[in-house]
């Protein structure tokens, strides 16, 4: 238990032996993800508590577009695949592929965000605003919080991509990419839950 990996990186602690053998930044990230589960859990619970309690329309079945959102979901799933490929490439030291897949992941994230933007504006045109009814409020706050997470992820991925372009990202930073990946997959999984709870089970 006392022999750990010795990844060198700037955050400090991980440069030393760690008691659990797990990189400190990665462990912090796992804790962060645990915390985020409760954040999304609370939002999803709120959505569920208020399900069917809107006083006026539009109601979910009138407005949600499952085929379109299935496409967005597929897109996000593919971005997770790209993320896996990016990490594998960086770990191999193949920065050409690494750059490519980082960019692809970010772009797929952007496609998702564009889809969400289109969806939101479409809903608003259909008469579902943030304050229209409880469905609108819970829907926008839940999916909006998720969208904000995707946005952070995209910015993060693009930052790594730029670092890679400038030759500052290599196998030595594989841990950074791995953590980015953790975050990205987590955001993806949350979306699967939201998609199921909000769209599929009406």
């Amino acid at each position: 238990m006392t022999h750990g990996s010795a990844h060198a990186h700037e955050a400090g602690a991980g440069a030393h032996r760690t008691s659990m053998g797990l990189d400190s930044r990665k462990m912090a990230f796992w804790a962060f993800i645990g915390s985020e589960c409760l954040l999304f859990g609370s939002l999803i619970s709120t959505y569920l508590v208020y399900k069917g309690r809107s006083l006026t329309g539009p109601f979910p079945h009138e407005i949600l577009n499952i085929p379109f959102t299935s496409f967005s979901t597929f897109d996000l799933l593919m971005s997770s695949l790209a993320m896996v490929l990016a990490l594998a490439a960086v770990q191999r030291g193949d920065m050409k592929q690494g750059k490519l897949w980082l960019l692809v992941t970010a772009l797929l994230g952007l496609v998702f965000l564009a889809g969400q933007f289109w969806e939101f504006s479409h809903f608003v045109r259909e008469g579902l605003g943030l304050t229209t009814n409880l469905f609108g409020s819970t829907f926008y706050v839940l999916t909006g919080t998720h969208g904000a997470h995707v946005t952070v992820g995209v910015i993060w991925l693009l930052t790594l991509w730029v670092q890679a372009l400038r030759g500052k990202l290599g196998p030595a930073n594989a841990m950074t990419v791995e953590i980015t990946g953790l975050y990205w997959h987590f955001v993806d999984v949350v979306w699967i839950v939201i998609f199921t709870v909000v769209y599929l089970i009406q």
Partner: protein, 597 residues
């Protein structure tokens, strides 16, 4: 000065936490004294208006919970955890500095509400939060609270939540990952264990209140109806979300104090902690059960017989691991060679007072009896026996115990004993009569009462008690301050403690340990059946130790948050964006600044 602004040394950050939190403790205490002076006579002893009174008790509760007790515990987490586990610093020193600055700025932001009135075209003392520390709906809706009061509260708490969360991740990783060789999990000092459990509660409970606050913010700023019945929303949802956070929060407040007491008792009875593993596991059980009892705060909201019974049951259940701990502490004292230092007195006082608080807690665990007690002074008595009699006495025990380690100077024991006895007499005089005034029907949070209620005598006793606590606190402040003029003379181990922090000089050098010790037992500095005491560490490091320099970015990043809050408060979007820009730039510079350990 600059070195304090940029410091990433956990010991300095610990001292910053201590002094800041202690300052807020004095402010919160002052608010309490005004409240008590007002209640000294029927129909108001001080002529405080209802509006001002609401602000006073709201800020008192909010300040004590979020700005005094939590960060005073954090002061000890910061200073002591790396020392207790044999580390040179926390896992993320800059994140640690960031937590402190966010806490400080969040605290200042909240308290600025006392003087910010004129900026909103109102008087001073009119825009501070005024809906109680748990901010129930509908009191907090825009309709019933149009001013900025509740905005200060919900924005301030969001800022403070960020500080707590960041510290939570940091300490979890520190404790799990930075232990010295041989420091297995079941060799961790009990304070470190309770800290670890506390931080797990922090990172799971704070997201819940964050969501509650965000929804409230949407209601108030953007006109949603999450908690507004006119739009189909349910004010009770707020109560669920708040207490789902709130009950774990009370354990966040008490577990560190329990940890301190579990350090102090063995040291001053010269006996190992009785049933160490039981103390650890009961802490874990408390944390789990702490998640299943929240609705005992909501019996009067009409949850129905089934929910009432379930939550009454879980609440009574949680008294079991709590009681187990009490027996462990008594077992530790039993047959020990007890030295009645101030620290030990406070620890013993903790046990006694906490038992009283636990008993009143069990008495309102049962829904029917709670209906007689809820929202009366009886609950005020309960929370003060557990939070003052529990947490604060525990923290005082820790201050007397660790002050020499933190500063190299011993607090006066004779002043300490005056402090202790005044505090004990004062707190019992202040809080015990509240059981009676509550049962006689005096509601909490009321700015006047009529003499016909028959509670005048009890209230007068409470007021006298409160001022005695005030006096006791002044004695303590004097005790703290006078150490500043003393030479640094504390030995490494003034009390004969068993844990690693006592193996190094007082105050410790920047690098803490000249050589990272190898740990062989739970009590490395004591002779145990199987282990000789650890050999003293070399006086000088055998090789130069690299200590990371400071960084400005934690402070700069932190300042972005209150700027955002001020923008939101005054509805000026560019200010919000400017604050966000500061945060983003800060994070980037932070991430790419060379910083090595």
């Amino acid at each position: 000065m600059k070195t304090w602004l940029t410091t990433t040394d956990h010991k300095r950050i610990g001292l910053l936490y201590f002094w800041t939190a202690f300052g807020f403790f004095l402010i919160g205490g002052l608010e309490a004294l005004i409240i008590r002076a007002q209640l000294a006579r029927p129909d108001g002893g001080l002529g405080v208006s209802a509006e001002t009174f609401n602000q006073l008790f709201t800020m008192h509760g909010t300040t004590m919970v979020f700005l005094a007790l939590m960060p005073l515990s954090a002061a000890f987490f910061n200073f002591m955890i790396p020392l207790q586990i044999g580390a040179r610093d926390v896992a993320f020193p800059r994140l640690n500095a960031f937590s402190y600055w966010v806490f400080l700025l969040g605290g200042l932001f909240l308290n600025a509400s006392f003087i910010a009135g004129p900026l909103f075209g109102a008087d001073r003392l009119s825009v501070a939060p005024d809906a109680g520390w748990f901010g129930y709906e509908n009191l907090t809706s825009r309709q019933f609270s149009p001013g900025p009061n509740v905005d200060f509260w919900l924005l301030g708490l969001q800022i403070l939540g960020i500080a707590s969360l960041a510290a939570g991740f940091n300490f979890i990783v520190t404790i799990l990952n930075m232990r010295a060789p041989g420091m297995r999990m079941l060799r961790l000092p009990p304070f470190t264990w309770m800290t670890l459990i506390t931080q797990f509660l922090v990172i799971t409970a704070f997201p819940v209140i964050t969501v509650a606050l965000v929804l409230l913010m949407f209601d108030r700023f953007f006109g949603t109806h999450f908690f507004v019945p006119q739009g189909g929303g349910d004010p009770i949802l707020w109560q669920h979300l708040f207490w789902m956070f709130g009950h774990p929060e009370v354990y966040i407040l008490i577990l560190p104090a329990m940890g301190i007491v579990s350090e102090v008792l063995p040291t001053f009875s010269k006996k190992p902690l009785f049933g160490y593993t039981v103390v650890v596991y009961s802490g874990v059980v408390i944390a789990f059960l702490g998640w299943s009892v929240w609705s005992h705060h909501m019996f009067s909201s009409g949850l129905g017989p089934i929910a009432d019974s379930v939550f009454a049951g879980t609440t009574m259940l949680i008294a079991i691991p709590t009681g187990v701990k009490i027996f462990n502490w008594i077992g530790t004292l039993w047959g020990g060679q007890i030295r009645f230092t101030t620290s030990l007195l406070f620890a013993v006082g903790f046990i006694a007072m906490f038992i009283i608080g636990g008993l009143s807690g069990v008495s309102h665990a049962s829904a029917p009896s709670d209906l007689q007690q809820t929202d009366t002074y009886y609950v005020v008595a309960h929370i003060h026996y557990v939070l003052f009699g529990g947490t604060i006495l525990g923290l005082f025990a820790g201050m007397y115990y660790w002050w020499p380690k933190m500063t190299g100077r011993l607090l006066s024991e004779s002043l300490g004993k005056v402090h202790f006895w005044l505090t004990m007499i004062g707190m019992n005089l202040a809080f015990f009569p509240m059981h009676f005034s509550g049962l006689l029907g005096m509601p909490r949070r009321i700015y006047t009462y009529s003499s016909e209620l028959g509670v005048t005598g009890f209230n007068q006793a409470s007021t006298i008690g409160a001022f005695l606590i005030g006096l006791a606190t002044l004695v303590f402040v004097w005790n703290l301050l006078r150490t500043r003029w003393q030479p640094i003379s504390a030995p490494h181990n003034p009390w004969g403690g068993a844990t690693l922090e006592w193996a190094i000089p007082s105050p410790p050098p920047v690098y803490n340990f000249t050589v990272i010790p190898t740990v062989e037992s739970r009590m490395p500095l004591w002779q145990t059946e199987r282990h000789a005491p650890m050999r003293p560490l070399p006086e000088r490091p055998p090789a130069p130790i690299h200590v990371p320099g400071g960084s400005w970015w934690p402070l700069i990043t932190a300042t972005g948050l209150p700027v955002m809050a001020i923008g939101a408060l005054s509805h000026v979007i560019p200010v919000v964006l400017a604050g966000a820009a500061v945060v983003i730039v800060g994070i980037y510079r932070w991430a790419y600044e060379p910083f090595e350990m």
